[in-house]
């Protein structure tokens, strides 16, 4: 019989995690974590990458078995052998990477595994009725998409489908893993409204995030994880961003800008009227113009999925353009190949280091050759001089503080931060004229983030033109000389980081005009604006 801890004086929390500890080999992912989720509340689980948030929720969700500690659901102790057990007691998880079967319709996806049948065949009409009951109840607007294959839908709509799926399966406790990563600020508000609706009807929610402002806005309580342990649990109403940041990191974060010491020079990179299409043939970059100068850092801000990826790929030669020009040092390089651009001096820190920046199975020596295949002395007339490459790798490892400092280590053994430092170092070793960086500090620990920021500033001071894309607003504001905000394939504005407020930036990122928004507060929330099916703005990461 399950142990019970009912106590008539105090309403039983929906979920109570007590002393959860989980190890993966030597790494302690969760270290004695306590968390209480009250019924009808929203609890945010905040922390940096690697703090143990996802692991903790995976334990709750039945994916992992904890090494120590207990899970209580509605007062009863539970032991989950699998996610199905968790689902049986009403816990549903909305993953960051949706678990949808692309060629099947929304309706089919929602009822998968719990299909109503009649005479052996799936009773799709009965399913439709049941699903509509749910969508009407909580105000989801997916009715028009019920018979559309999921692959044709916008990411925002897909997420709604995921949530409806959980509700259909009887989830009363929902765990959302970084739900806003793929949404525009407008859609985020819509999500928050749905969350409010759900809690009002007695559901309880946990949502994992690393965004301070969202935690403060949407949650009732916030638990901050750091390095596997609980740094603190606070009421959202009483907490501030500074406090949360301090809990997350363990020390004050310096949000101030560094004063610059050098002047900005001539234009090096000139982009005119650029149009670029994405993987599925839809336009992602719609007529972008900008210039980057020597000794300048241009930050490109925006929610992921607004064309930044395609823009960067067009700049670095990884994607052809539909029309428009890219000029480097006055010369038109629009049609040139990636290799050409490497040789000309355009270095690139890619968005996905584990897919693009390094080969996980290679050691650092082999990885150091990536991008240098036509550079002497490493390769002469097609033949590789491995001892020279080895020196190259060892140099990078030493100068860019890569741990462990052994060039024969396999890349996959390095932590994210060290991998990134290696990539950054290697790219700088090109002695480029232009550095393009895409989310250069994603998934990187604080120490490495600072290291990388310092290197980028050094590049700027040395007279390079730097263009970088990031969705971390603080980073963009700290490093950039100018900030270009990208929304739906266009630069909606280019602003001075010292003059613009974070609020305005957020508005720009939704395509709104800060001036008019001041007069007219955001028009109604809710989801009925509808995501555009097969929209021209999707998360293509």
């Amino acid at each position: 019989m399950a142990e019970s801890e009912r106590d008539d004086d105090h309403p039983v929390p929906d979920v109570r995690l007590s002393g959860i500890t989980k190890r993966f080999g030597d790494v302690v992912a969760n270290d004695g974590v306590d968390l209480t989720l009250e019924k009808g509340s929203v609890h945010a689980l905040l922390g940096e990458n690697g703090s143990g948030k996802t692991t903790l929720m995976s334990v709750l969700y039945g994916l992992y078995d904890q090494d120590d500690g207990d899970i209580y659901v509605r007062g009863d102790r539970q032991e989950f052998d699998s996610p199905r057990d968790a689902m049986d007691v009403g816990i549903g998880m909305i993953h960051q990477h949706f678990q949808l079967v692309e060629p099947m319709t929304v309706l089919q996806n929602i009822v998968l595994g719990h299909e109503p049948t009649e005479h052996g065949l799936v009773d799709i009409e009965s399913a439709r009725t049941d699903v509509k009951a749910i969508t009407d109840r909580y105000g989801f607007d997916v009715d028009e998409y019920l018979d559309v294959p999921v692959r044709d839908l916008d990411v925002g709509v897909q997420q709604r489908v995921e949530i409806v799926k959980s509700l259909y399966r009887g989830a009363e406790i929902l765990v959302l893993d970084e739900p806003t990563a793929v949404l525009t600020p407008q859609e985020v508000q819509g999500l928050f409204d749905v969350m409010a609706e759900l809690t009002a009807s007695g559901h309880s929610l946990v949502f994992i995030t690393h965004k301070l402002d969202e935690a403060l806005t949407a949650a009732d309580e916030i638990t901050v994880l750091r390095d596997g342990g609980v740094a603190g649990t606070v009421d959202a109403a009483d907490a501030t961003e500074q406090e949360l940041a301090r809990l997350m990191v363990g020390r004050e974060i310096d949000f101030d800008r560094q004063p610059r010491e050098t002047t900005i020079g001539d234009p090096v990179l000139e982009i005119a009227d650029l149009y670029v299409s994405g993987d599925r043939g839809l336009e992602q970059v719609s007529g972008v113009d900008f210039t980057v100068r020597e000794g300048e850092i241009l930050g490109i801000a925006g929610v992921q999925g607004n064309g930044q990826t395609e823009l960067v790929e067009a700049l670095t030669g990884l994607r052809p353009v539909e029309s428009g020009t890219v000029r480097f040092d006055g010369a038109d390089i629009t049609g040139t190949s990636r290799r050409d651009r490497i040789e000309k001096g355009i270095a690139y820190i890619p968005e996905d280091r584990q897919e693009e920046g390094i080969v996980m199975d290679y050691d650092l020596v082999r990885n150091s050759l990536l991008g240098f295949q036509t550079t002497e002395p490493y390769v002469e007339r097609g033949v590789i001089d491995w001892p020279a490459v080895r020196d190259h790798a060892e140099g990078i490892v030493e100068e860019y503080d890569v741990q462990p400092p052994d060039a024969t280590t396999r890349a996959s053994s390095l932590s994210g931060g060290n991998q990134q430092k290696f990539v950054v170092g290697r790219e700088i070793e090109h002695e480029p004229t232009v550095m393009v960086a895409s989310h250069p500090t994603r998934g990187v620990d604080i120490g490495s983030i600072e290291f990388i920021h310092d290197r980028l500033l050094e590049l700027r001071d040395a007279g390079l033109a730097v263009a970088f894309v990031s969705s971390k607003l603080e980073e963009v504001r700290t490093l950039s000389d100018r900030i270009a905000v990208m929304y739906e394939g266009e630069f909606v504005d280019v602003v001075d980081p010292e003059a613009v407020t974070e609020e305005d930036l957020g508005l720009l990122m939704t395509g709104a005009d800060p001036e008019s928004a001041a007069d007219h507060p955001a028009a109604g929330s809710g989801w009925s604006d509808g995501g555009t099916p097969a929209g021209d703005r999707r998360d293509e990461s």
């Binding site: 990636r338 693009e356 920046g357 390094i358 996980m360 082999r366 050759l369 033949v383 590789i384």
Partner: protein, 376 residues
Amino acid sequence: MSGAGSNRARAVLDRIAARLLDASVGERIAIAAASMTLAILIGLLVVAFAGYDPVQFLENVAIGAFGDANALARTLKFTTLFILTGVAVAIAFRAGVFNIGVQGQFVVGGFATVIAILELAPLLPTGTTGGVLLMILGTVAGSIAGGAYGALPGILKAYGDANEIVTTIMLNFIATGAVGYLVDGPFRGEGNRAPNTARIPEYVSLPRVVFDVPDFSVVGLAVTLVVVGAIAWVLARTRFGYDMVTSGHQVAAAAFSGVNARRTVVATMTLSGMVAGVAGALFAIMIQGYYSDPAGIGTYGFDAIAVSLLAANNPLGVVPAGFLFGALDSAGSHIRINSDVPVQLIDGIIGLVVLFVAVPELFRMAAERTGLGGEN
């Protein structure tokens, strides 16, 4: 297959290859030995069940593979073919391109070699000089033909996004059928009742050194090993090789580093086809001496896939792996003549070896349980 699906499939097949790559040399040898042993054991069981003498059978297998100089020569003969086709497969697999079409490229290469030699022979002097020239030219022709036939699915994949596993399998059948038709009709040797081309001239043959048999020359083996060495060097020490192998690991990283993915795919398939073509040339010159209905020629190109997997797609590893298969095939030839056990059994056993090679996991788990193997 769409680009995204293709990437995922590649990642998946990568993972499978990576599992084998992860295995150390020692583990690999153990798996090879285990596969062989298990397959032969099952073969012995079948033999016994069918009423024949298993011990005798085993003896015959050993004698057939290594019993005397002739047997050894026969083993080495098959070995050269397995090594060359195995290397052809290894090149492609290492680069992440799943060339299942080595059989077809081998057939096309061999046929082209014979036709080239037949056509050029009247134009060149007879005797040793002519012979050597013709062999070289014939091999070049075979290599070009094989390369072209490999380039085709490469191009279809690079520019048409056509899944190479399917296209190469289809092209195998097309090659067999088309060459079979040609050999049966337009290119049938004069006066031949069977669908065969004419024979290539007597003087076009490799010298008999060490072994005095008509269908194997140590020179052939030497050529094979030179090819292996060359390919191994290209993969390890040239930029082209690095680009290819990197493409095989992570296409996105290769693209990032400036590798032109499309050209690399085509180049990979072409090189793979060229080596298969050389295998075909060797087969035509050293072993058969003319070209016949490909449907009757052994399935070297298919077995080569198992050979390459066994060797973790490493050209150097293909040598011992090829030798293993060569020994089995040789044993089969011996049994066909010297035993009344139906030779199809050997085909079946080879099939079993291939099957077990495909399941290294089986042996790893068994090893763990019996405490023999590694710690995973």
